[in-house]
Amino acid sequence: MLAAVASLVLGACAARDEGSSSGNTNSSAAAPSQAANAANPAGDGKAVCSGVSLAYAGTINGSSAALGQNILRGADLAVKQHNQANPGCQVTLKQFDTEGKPDKAPGIVTQVISEADIIGVVGLPFSGESKAAGNLFNQAGLVTVTPSATNPALADNGWKTFFRGMGNDAVQGPAAAKFLTDTLKANKVCVIEDDSEYGTGLAAQVTQALGSKASCTDKVKTGQTDFSAVVNKISTESPDAVFYSGYYPEAGPFAQQLNDKGVTAKFVGPDGVKDPEFVKGAGAGANNAFFTCPCVPEDNFKDFTAAFKATEGADPGTYSPEGYDVTTILLKGIDSGIKDRAGLLNFVKNYDGQGLTKHFKWDAKGELSDTPVWSYRVENGKIVNNGQIS
């Protein structure tokens, strides 16, 4: 009996990995090509170092785990490429699972800080946990580069160790509004937000940018599964589009229940929803779904995608290239001979260079100036590139 259950569980896992492939076979929109001068984690192969580590801290098996896995795999690929090319400098990537929860992150972060060999951190992926734990990194002087936390207010805390590897929601919000009104031609939009730091922050940006076109709003909760009252409200409002500001575990059943009620409005989700798990969770509800994301499509990063598949055994997903980019920057610092936290923090602060996804040069608050936002859509059960918004 136990063996049967175990095999079922294992089978389920295998199927899930198969399903989470997000290969963009039939993308129609132009994607960026790999810049020739993009930083390469391999470097010149002559780096010398010993006893230094980087860490990934974020969700690994916790809530919205797929988003964390994408980043972790991107970071892992960069470290493996670096170590393979540099026999004299073997960097360890330590992994810490915050489960994506603001109440759990501070404890995990304290653990990260206590390990003296960790001199740079990739993370934290989510805005809520970043807000909860960001000051701990600041006090320890441990540099963090987040490849996905988009809440704009995070940069306003005066944390000297906070750097963001993509555009924030003050960029994504107006871009999403532009996408809704210009591309999808929506005149009535229902903006639904969850109760996370990320969801409420982004919803405020989108609602503000939409102005009077945001004809209805409502709130749902993390972990909610029955959306019938919200769906009934939207059904009565009959908007042209629904913008869901939150993460994919709730967006899946929500989109499915909208579809069940015959709501034909276009469903638009942000980066937290853009994952193959959403497409599976929403069933037929995913068919008219679109996404906005400060993440750059990996379509034309052919070398990266090939290496990713070979090394990680999975397709790159949302924020995989960004995770790869920011890890590469930290590795460059180590290769330049830096051995301590203060040195690496200084290196990142003064960094100026091209990456796979964009040009990286941070301002005093840890924000980039080059912040593209892209749109995506679901086509034949896959998430495909729908063109750059801004």
């Binding site: 909760k221 009565t236 575990p249």
Partner: protein
Amino acid sequence: MHPAITAALTQTDSWIQFDVHGLASQFWNNTVDGLAQGGIYALIALGYTLVYGVLKLINFAHSEVFIVGTFATWLTFYALGFRPGADPHLSTIEVIGFLLLAGIAAMAASGLVAVGLERVAYRPLRNRNAPRLVFLITAIGASFAIQQALKLIFGLNQQPQIRLLQPQPLFRIFGAVVTNRDIILFVAAVLLWFLADYFVNKTRLGRGIRAVAQDPDTATLMGVNKERVIVVTFLVGGLLAGAAALFYMMKIPQGAIYNGGFLLGIKAFTAAVLGGIGNLRGALLGGFVLGLVENYGQSLFGGEWKDIVAFVVLIIVLMFRPTGILGESLGKARV
């Protein structure tokens, strides 16, 4: 007064709104959905009420008895060859057959867990005449133990949805669409409640349950096997929770997650208390009332008030009727 509080009070618009128009325009849609959800609450509430009636124990682990049923449903679908993603195309007969299979599996799994729980967690305490508080703590502990075990086996995330029954609109009531799924959920809840009521009030075993609920010692002296009655009570509660798990998975195919029983269990317990704990009719009534009030409240105040509305209604009802709406215990009912 603290400036932040003053600010919050003057900005009444921003923190609470009364959307009366929304309540009116979505009333019938919310009624249909509320009754479907209420049926699920009612079936779980029956388990709380039965055990409370017999043992005066609030079996907080009942939420996990329920959630095990959702995993059994999911695993049955998986074992039948269905995979997460788009809904499969099936004939009506196939859908009914597969759902029945999943229902049997869920009821078996939940029933087994409920009986096992009684055997492992509660009976040893009873044999040692432990005080009632110890039972309560044990119930909470058992709830956590099962929850964490599910977390270890299935992970932190919901099982990806597999859905066999696509809701199809059947007819309209005052403009509100009623789907085949709404009908199944409502009718099945009433039917199962009726069976449970018949079992408790009309059968020999049911008479035993009522006798033990009234006075365990006298019932034992009269030749009722108390231990057997308790096992049967847990079993019936577990079977009903398993059935509720199937219906829940029909409504929310993403429902199989290790901690998914917690809030639902609290809500079902609320429904049981609302209707009058220990009272089978109260569980049914409480379930439907809670399902409806939750939906109306969301239309009136906004989606984020869903849980608040449910519990405020409970508090208000208990202030005026401390024993719940129907307010009788299992032992006193129909002596």
